[in-house]
Symmetry: D2
Subunit: 338 residues, 4 copies
């Protein structure tokens, strides 16, 4: 930690800072410049709240030097992590496509979805079983029955399964039926849930919150990894900005930034990133061109009658067409799409 004192900081103020840092176990090095005294704090508690020093008298600014995440940082595994589930490698040479409906609605729907998804070339089937909605009267998901249908449909077509966990009590159910557990944007800082996901040994796809910085996303990944679960997949799915035409502003630059700062694989979700079906294909193409390791896309056999998220679900033909485009783009970044 570096504490930069104000130009006119008094010796008494400087001493008070030094004392405060030493109380928390820091060794303090003092460097007196022409204009500013700079105090360097080494050691000390990892979770020391720098704001405490920031508001002390005479302090101009405080900078943390050591990144607050370690396990999630690129330095921890410079070669990059490949999350492998059966024969699917996320973070490897192939760009992995995860596709399917927002919610599992019925046997017929998920079976048809699995066929579309597999025919197009994706290797993971997505589908939600728990759907707490903004209205208490809306469709709330099929629960365990939905997971069972999802698993059956995926197995028939040789697909992996990804599904969202909303609460710690659902973890046993999801680990039983799903190959990858998805943690939604609203739960990115649900620390209880992060801790529980650190205890399991299944990959977790962690979505960036709509108001979360890239650093905060990595801190949440760190939380899971600190529990011993190193198979975390990061997901960009749009942030909230002043622009209202799109539901969110998809931050494509987060993809190369995450690759620079972290060794974890990065997935892009253009369906939630835009909220509009017509924008999904261009943003999916852009994501792969920017280096995404995988895509998470909503596809429905009949989006006009989907129980949820219909507006952002691709028609089957759009999905097939998109897969063709991706096969052309991937080689530009040294990847392939099957």
């Amino acid at each position: 930690m570096l504490v930069v004192m104000q130009q006119d900081a008094s010796e008494a103020q400087i001493q008070k800072i030094i004392q405060r840092l030493m109380e928390d176990g820091f060794d303090v090095h003092r460097s007196t410049g022409v204009l500013h005294t700079v105090l360097g704090g080494v050691g000390g508690k990892d979770d020391f709240d720098t704001a405490v020093v920031q508001v002390m008298d005479g302090v101009k600014e405080v900078h943390r030097i050591v990144a607050p995440y370690k396990l999630a940082s690129r330095a921890f595994n410079p070669a990059g992590t490949v999350v492998k589930v059966r024969d699917v490698e996320i973070g490897g040479n192939k760009v992995v496509v995860m596709a399917g409906p927002c919610s599992v609605e019925s046997y017929e729907q998920i079976e048809r979805s699995a066929d579309i998804v597999a025919d197009g070339g994706a290797s993971v089937l997505r589908g939600g079983a728990f759907k707490p909605r903004s209205s208490p009267y809306s469709f709330q998901g099929l629960g365990e029955e939905g997971l069972r249908l999802l698993r059956t449909a995926a197995d028939r077509r040789g697909l992996l399964v990804i599904s969202e966990v909303m609460d710690a009590v659902q973890i046993p159910l999801l680990t039983a039926y799903s190959d990858i557990l998805q943690l939604g944007a609203r739960n990115m800082q649900n620390f209880n849930l992060l801790r529980e996901l650190g205890k399991i040994r299944k990959p977790v796809l962690l979505k960036r919150g709509i108001a979360a910085t890239i650093e905060e996303l990595l801190l949440s990944a760190e939380y899971i990894m600190a529990g011993g679960n190193y198979e975390v997949i990061l997901c960009e799915r749009g942030i909230r900005t002043f622009e209202t035409y799109t539901r969110n502003t998809m931050d494509i630059s987060a993809i190369p930034v995450l690759h620079k700062l972290s060794h974890l694989p990065v997935v892009a979700d253009p369906s939630h990133g835009t909220g509009r079906r017509d924008l999904v294909p261009p943003m999916a193409c852009a994501s792969v061109a920017a280096g995404a390791d995988a895509l998470l896309i909503e596809v429905h056999h009949d989006p006009d009658h989907a129980f949820s998220d219909g507006a952002q679900s691709l028609y089957p033909d759009q999905y097939f067409e998109l897969m063709k485009q991706l096969r052309v783009i991937a080689p530009a970044v040294g990847r392939v799409v099957e």
Copy 2:
């Protein structure tokens, strides 16, 4: 719902929209203007997702007419709601001050806090018992023991208690010890928790999420009220913007806007709204001047050694001084501070 068609929309496109709306139970009125055809949809499902129509061919824009919240709207109780707990009225003539430390740390700490809080003139004692933190090694709160200490200290000084609930399983404990349950910003859209809070009969202080619009805050209030719990108190505590000097940008204008749109009382939390002790008094004053019904403020007998949020906790003297200022300001808006 009003659907405005594009200038060049075809009759077939218009018919497809009409049919889609009728499927969901809407009566459709068609109005053909010089440039645009406008379709008005009346009735239909409350939770109909307008985005489904938004992305259909030939559609220019879609506007909901009926606000998606009813119980929380001003029209539901034009005179305004007063949440009454024993002799404290939130939303009444007196500006209510809720003050105390971020976390309950020890018997001595909370007893001293209660004295400071009561001596200054506040009527509610705040303090957290569950503190899931960004580091799994940090202080996690005292749990039930913390609640017990909080209750004891408050009772000794005739104060009410407010404390945060983080998970549905904590609800019984909190209803047992606390007069008001606080729902944090990160849980504003935790629909499971909202539903459970709708079932209890204790006031809930609902904090605005850092990326939540005013409308979304009211929708979350609606969710609680739909369950039968009408005692919801809204809380502005800062939103995330591009400005980095403050931790959040406190949206003071949300106070009069919420009063216009809703009958529910509005509380301001300048401690989280700014993240810096030196900004808390001016923002507390501003909040009361803008019409806040109550304040939620962090005060600690020794902020430099607080277990959490020390940088934004007031020193006792700052708090006493602030209370004096508030007594001058309140009459300007027809209120009093005791």
Copy 3:
């Protein structure tokens, strides 16, 4: 314009709105629904400020129906506009690359730049001659001498020239030396300058302001077009958000959205969009994959010693490598890069 009245709006309030709209030349159609009265205003002044009605008593919300831009809208030229300068077509089958240094610094620098730019396959040379800087003591650009050097270097290699205009008094100079005039993000709503650019007959590349919505960008394009200059090229170059790792957040989704709403060609500027050299290639690739008609990229023969914007200027080798990637990607969206 649609005016939705509150549920409890009185007849007197409704009549006052009707009268107000008629004063401004609107024909008013009244539609009484189950819950809300809706007033439709047709005709009236194009620049009527809907906020005036918005704040009147009894009004719930006001929606404009007719987009405030016409000439810039897709409906004005559904096939899409191709801006042609000599043999370069922006908006045609080829993705056009505009590259070069931030500022023209010297004869040698711009000559070397022109060689790099042309060798890589770009067809337009960029370079600034006027550089008002945040410090009055910094390099302010070479002025007319810079434009002369830029033109000479471009002509030698058969390149077009694009350069920025900062003030209306510079327009004659820029029209003399430059094939395309660039209007910077800070001037996107400089209405004096927009009006003057409407009078010339040279293409204008209009950059989106960092806090401008897509609609506001189109309104500024409309302003130029209203003056008779129809050759406007839109440019996405990043918006300001809460994320601080990148200088701006490049809104890639604006590319397909602009193509949907407008017939004008769309350029992406990943150099300003990210502010970091290492992010320029992935974001350039993403832009082309999302359908950009052209790219505007900063390249310098020695970025470490550039007079300005060195951190976001590509090294020559990075630029050559990027051009190779783009040649692979473009066919995925039915385009070519030469």
Copy 4:
């Protein structure tokens, strides 16, 4: 400047940074920590672009130590600056109110406005003479005739005049007629205009841009002051956020923050800050409670028929009522409103 190297930075990378900094005149001090090497750069060019070092290999982060503004910083005049125009002191004990219409529309209008403004107790009359508008067919202001009318009306009632300058060519006219020159939010970073305003000897009210940070506002003030004009008044008028109910989000916390960082007086503009008449009084009260030295408020004798900004202009009665409230609030912060 502090350059923090990555943990795994090589000696060659470190040497390259040192050399780069020395080229630009920095003395470099090296400090090798347990995990990170930190390089301190002292001296060197004031306007050195730290991003150049930020993107070099092996660099983790770069922090400027010396604030990029000096003349505008609080340290330059710890007691605070009072801008005095005749007998009006901005930054002194009295909260100064500047009020009047958005535009000067006619002799009668501005005379009536001056009466209202003076009767209410304000001491400065505002009114625009140049109104470049989003539509080229809208009212564009009365120009010099407007300034003449404004001056005459103000003089009759003993008021000062404030009016906006849009272009450097208007400076002579504005200095002739107006006591304070206002620079609008869109021109906050118009460096040509800032430089010209540095040459005059009249106070300049500098508005914060809607996407400008507090630091950027102070940098623009520095630009004017560097030219020798030290009478700069800072103005908060709302920033752009994701919230759409209000036109902008007024950042009330900027008022105490600016007072902390700078010695310059701070004005609040709740009219532009909210865009809605009904929100102006609460936000004006909040601004004074938060320590604003002055207010800038739009008042019109007939807002429903104002040529511009009618929706955010107060009715005369609202203004009189507001002035009464302010007289109650000001003493809470040690001020008075006359």
